[in-house]
């Protein structure tokens, strides 16, 4: 099936938030902190601006609680006395003329008495300055399996290493945007570019202190999210709503690119230390992993990002003794947040780069080391989950190596590189990615979805899951059509609007197709069952008969609607206290292979070929599924090679597309995607989650290929030419 909403997108008719205009609408703008930490002393409004024409909102104008509700209430909507990061919002302005508004923003001077700030994870842990809570630590986890400490002395080989990843900007091409309308009579309504309508809803309920039904959140066509529109839209919706509430008019707020880049969330920077004990025959005996992420100034989603990163840190390997310690620490950077992969790309990069180094130290090839340690069906993961899936990493690796001609190339490159200015390398990564919320997350979410037949003879899917390019509308249409036994063109997907659709949980965590899609499938089966039982529908029906039966049913019995709520599988258990158990109901398994060439004069790296082999259950839509992997691989190439956030005193210096570089059409190799399909019993039509997976394995495959090409001991991404040049000097020395 072709993309459901595709026609509007290829003709330019699709309406994104900036394409909408309301009568008498104002524009809104944010005045932000110029420094990372300090005490607000005074706010000066400069001359030459007709301030009486402006709506001005400060913290004291907030009707309810001054915070953005998410996990804990630590992030203010508007800084009141203290600022904790650069670009923290302090003041909001609205005016009909957006050009005058920009002049007004520049005319506001905020006088802040600086306080000492913390900019690195090391300084945060040193605790010379406490910038959050009692100890600068948002969250820590400990996973223990067996006893790692018994092995260091007796092991044949112990390999250590430390690995770092930088911040990464989501860089959706549509910047954040929101329109709000608010009044005593109507309550608050926001329209916007967002992933999670019910997150925004929850934040506005608390901000205004209104009952739930007085807040309405509508998603407009969303031009990419990748996690960047998971939690931040709650902030922007809050700002637009406050201006709308005070002015009594509709207020539109659209960030320009620079504001979007410097002020909104990014992927958490990370540092991971590995210590690994290996036997003479290449068995990994113990893995001791210390994983740390920089959460920025407020907690936001850091505990859950940390959780996913922690659980993925030991990879798809069977090892009797594992310890993973992890911490999310506070700094005075803008809060880091959700970005596709959610902590896993960081810890997977560290592990897969480390294992290539372990292999080298053990005198084994990278593939042989993995082969001797791959997890198999029935093995237990570090956090106590027994894997009952038919996992076969060797088979995936075999297929990936066959598609890339891995062995022949590895040998050929090694022979040809000597004396060549362009050195070639091939590397790979092996990894898993859990789909759905971690641990007991899905149980707490208790998501809902519904199907409804209309008197006009159509079936509507009601879910809070958003379309942001990944294909929600198409996938839900296919799943519903299949479950009902009718044609796809008889299905409508209701635009997520909290006044219409149930809370299906957030559109994150590779959960939309697998978790919410399953609810859609169940609702479809129940609706079909209802019709069959009523005998208005006879087996062997076609679409026309089905919809005719719906009409008859509605005439006779009233509304025909089937609503389904998530039920956690009874055999899956997670213990939040011990942080042990079945972390995810299903995993995707993958081997990614990258081929690179490195120009030794300029230290530029080009990815020449990329093969992604994965087992993701049954593929529902091959074009969309491959599109997810290809796009994720391109983002992973950016993470590995180009996307470097330059920080100075907690501010992003390169907040422009001119100097923050994402891959262009010239930079991506042919990305060849292969699926192994083993139907997953609990997924809709046998499908597992797919969205985040490609971010995990791309960067380490590329880093391993660079190491193979050059001998450089890559420990940190992105591997920009500057970084690589320095490393190459060590190789030659």
């Amino acid at each position: 099936m072709q993309r459901k909403e595709g026609r509007g997108k290829v003709t330019g008719a699709a309406q994104y938030i900036d394409d909408l205009t309301f009568p008498d609408m104002l524009h809104g703008i944010t005045v932000r902190s110029p420094i990372a930490r300090g005490r607000i002393r005074a706010i000066h409004f400069g001359d030459d601006i007709p301030w009486d024409e402006f709506t001005i909102v400060r913290a004291k104008d907030i009707p309810g609680k001054n915070c953005i509700a998410l996990i804990i209430d630590d992030q203010p909507c508007l800084a009141d006395q203290i600022v904790n990061h650069a670009e923290e919002p302090i003041l909001l302005l609205a005016h009909p003329d957006k050009y005058l508004l920009e002049e007004a923003r520049r005319a506001v001077q905020i006088d802040i008495e600086p306080l000492p700030a913390v900019f690195t994870m090391e300084d945060s842990l040193a605790r010379n300055e406490i910038v959050w809570g009692r100890d600068n630590v948002f969250k820590s986890f400990l996973i223990e399996k067996g006893n790692v400490d018994n092995l260091w002395a007796s092991a044949d080989l112990v390999v250590e290493g430390e690995y770092e990843t930088g911040a990464q900007e989501q860089l959706y091409i549509e910047p954040q945007g929101m329109i709000a309308r608010a009044s005593e009579a109507e309550g608050v309504t926001v329209w916007g570019s967002l992933q999670c309508p019910y997150y925004v809803h929850k934040a506005l309920v608390q901000l205004f202190g209104f009952p739930k039904e007085r807040i309405r959140v509508v998603q407009t066509e969303t031009g990419g999210g990748f996690g960047g529109k998971e939690e931040y839209p709650s902030m922007l919706a809050a700002h637009a709503s406050l201006l709308a509430w005070k002015s009594g008019k509709a207020v539109k707020m659209i960030y320009d690119r620079a504001e979007d880049m410097v002020a909104t969330t990014k992927r958490h920077p990370s540092r991971t230390h590995h210590r690994t004990a290996v036997s003479r025959d290449g068995k990994i005996l113990a893995m001791d992993i210390d994983y740390m992420i920089d959460g920025g100034a407020y907690e936001t989603l850091s505990p859950v990002v940390l959780s996913r990163g922690t659980i993925h840190a030991a990879g798809p390997y069977s090892c009797p003794n594992v310890r993973v310690r992890s911490r999310a620490v506070a700094t005075n950077a803008p809060p880091h947040g959700a970005f596709r992969g959610f902590g896993a790309p960081q810890s997977v990069f560290s592990l897969e780069r480390h294992l290539d180094r372990v292999a080298e130290a053990a005198g084994l090839t990278p593939d042989e080391l993995r082969r001797r340690n791959f997890l198999r069906e029935g093995d237990t993961l570090a956090f106590g989950q027994i894997v009952y899936e038919k996992v076969d990493m060797q088979r995936l690796m075999g297929r990936a190596f066959e598609m890339t001609d891995y062995y022949a190339k590895r040998t050929r490159f090694e022979n040809e590189n000597a004396g060549s200015l362009i050195k070639k390398g091939i590397g790979f990564a092996a990894f898993l990615h859990g789909a759905g919320f971690t641990g007991s997350g899905e149980e707490y979410l208790a998501s809902e979805a519904a199907l409804e037949a209309t008197p006009e003879g159509r079936v509507r899917v009601l879910a809070g899951s958003t379309e942001m390019g990944q294909g929600t509308k198409t996938i839900f249409t296919q799943i519903a059509a299949e479950a009902l036994g009718i044609e796809c063109d008889r299905i409508d997907i209701v635009q997520p609007d909290t006044a219409d659709v149930p809370n299906s949980g957030p559109t994150v965590a590779s959960r939309t197709a697998m978790i919410v899609g399953r609810l859609v499938e169940s609702a479809g089966r129940a609706l079909r069952e209802t019709l069959l039982r009523s005998e208005l529908l006879k087996p062997g029906y076609d679409s026309t008969a089905f919809l005719g039966a719906c009409r008859l049913y509605i005439d006779r019995f009233g509304p025909l609607r089937s609503s389904v709520k998530y039920e956690h599988p009874r055999d899956l258990h997670w213990d939040d206290e011990k942080y042990q158990g079945d972390a995810y109901s299903a995993y995707a398994w993958a081997i990614y292979v990258a081929e690179v060439s490195v120009d030794m004069r300029t230290a530029e790296v080009h990815v020449d070929d990329f093969v992604a082999v994965q087992e993701v259950g049954k593929v529902i839509n091959p074009v969309l599924a491959a599109g997810q992997i290809e796009g994720g691989v391109a983002q992973g190439i950016g993470l590995a090679l180009y996307e470097n956030v330059v920080w100075q005193q907690g501010r992003m210096l390169n907040g422009q597309m001119t100097n923050y570089i994402m891959p262009t059409s010239m930079d991506v190799p042919p990305i060849r995607v292969f699926f192994e399909e083993i139907p997953y019993g609990r997924g809709p039509a046998g499908a597992k989650g797919i969205g985040e997976l490609p971010l995990d394995g791309t960067a380490p495959a590329i880093a391993n290929a660079i190491a193979h090409a050059t001998g450089a001991d890559i420990r940190r991404i992105p591997v920009t030419p500057e970084v690589l040049l320095e490393m190459l000097e060590h190789v030659h020395a």
Partner: protein
């Protein structure tokens, strides 16, 4: 200063129709198209000529409309995404639909115009020519793979058709 500038009238043709635009001379063509003509298919991604989401054709050349002051539009022929399809979709639009060239859709109007512009210059482009022709249009969703495929398939189908 803004208030010293006078609005000017700019006559041009947009999507085959005569248009008279009234705007400050340095107003961005992007804003004038979107706000005065309500042609919101042209998108703003960066405002600095990097992303290409605002691409339109001006006298047959692909331009970033965020970098074009409206005074330069005098007497020109402008094509936006809204002017591409007749009763049926343009073959490139059709190919993007069929082969997954559009995901979130925000780069799509600019990308499709870049393809149309490329094919006018290279009716049978090589993969290298496609890559180069689209290098000014950023896409964060697709990794470009399905965009290349959409272009190649559209070319193949037009060969079969001709």
């Amino acid at each position: 200063m803004r208030d010293l500038a006078r609005k000017i009238r700019v006559s041009c043709r947009v999507n085959g129709r005569a248009a008279v635009l009234e705007a400050y001379p340095m107003a961005r063509l992007l804003d004038v198209l979107r706000e005065q003509l309500c042609l919101t298919g042209t998108k703003e991604g960066c405002g600095e000529g990097e992303c290409g989401a605002c691409s339109v054709e001006m006298d047959g050349a692909l331009v970033n409309s965020c970098l074009v002051p409206v005074l330069q539009a005098e007497g020109t022929e402008i094509l936006t995404i809204e002017g591409l399809a007749g009763k049926r979709l343009h073959p490139i639009q059709q190919a993007f639909l069929a082969y997954g060239g559009a995901q979130c859709g925000i780069c799509t109007p600019g990308m499709i115009l870049a393809v149309v512009n490329l094919l006018a210059r290279h009716p049978k482009p090589t993969e290298a020519e496609i890559r180069e022709g689209l290098a000014g249009n950023l896409c964060r969703c697709t990794g470009y793979t399905k965009i290349f495929e959409s272009v190649l398939q559209a070319c193949r189908e037009s060969e079969r058709g001709s």
